[in-house]
Amino acid sequence: MIERYENVIIDIVCSVMVPLIQLFALYVVVHGHYGPGGGFQGGVLFAVSIILLRLCLGKEASHKKFPPKLAAALAASGMLVYMLTGLAPMAAGGAFLDYGHLPIPGVSGAELRFLGITIVEWSIAFSVCGTMVLLFDVLAEGMR
């Protein structure tokens, strides 16, 4: 597993970079409607920030900040939300993934679809982020 490498510069750079990357990731997810970006990109960026944490802080510290189980939980729950978003319209008489029939009162038409896309993008972001961290963790376990 990855060992913590004692070096001030790395610590500082890490502590500066990680929040920045995370902020950018959030921006990318949110901005997906209007420009390049979206769930995948944002999710991967967020995962990259966690990976950076893992690399800089070492196992114990980074596991405290982002527990490995959280990764799996994020990945699965993201997909769960996606599925539920897909199934919800069916309860309201629409097709699977038909955001136009999401049972949300007071919203309709294009806005409802916009909302649906937003939910889905976020769930993708969670899922991708979780899985990427999971992949990193699992592969890094192999290092001895």
Partner: protein
Amino acid sequence: MIWQIDFWLLVVLIIAALLALEVRDLLAAVAVLSAYSFLAALLFAQLGAIDVSFVEATLGAGVSGVLFVLALFCTRRRYEK
């Protein structure tokens, strides 16, 4: 879409691909592969596919590079053979 840029990027891509396969140092090969992906991302952007370019740069060049390097460290085999 400027075809000269396309052309030269493709040429570089081919060179990078050959290089990635022929370099005997595996870490270097993986690095070249990342570069290859990054060049591809550039080409995507050049062709107007900014979303794809973004994903290719993060996933293709970034994450897959990291995973490759991790695997290399796990297997402790720097060189072919």
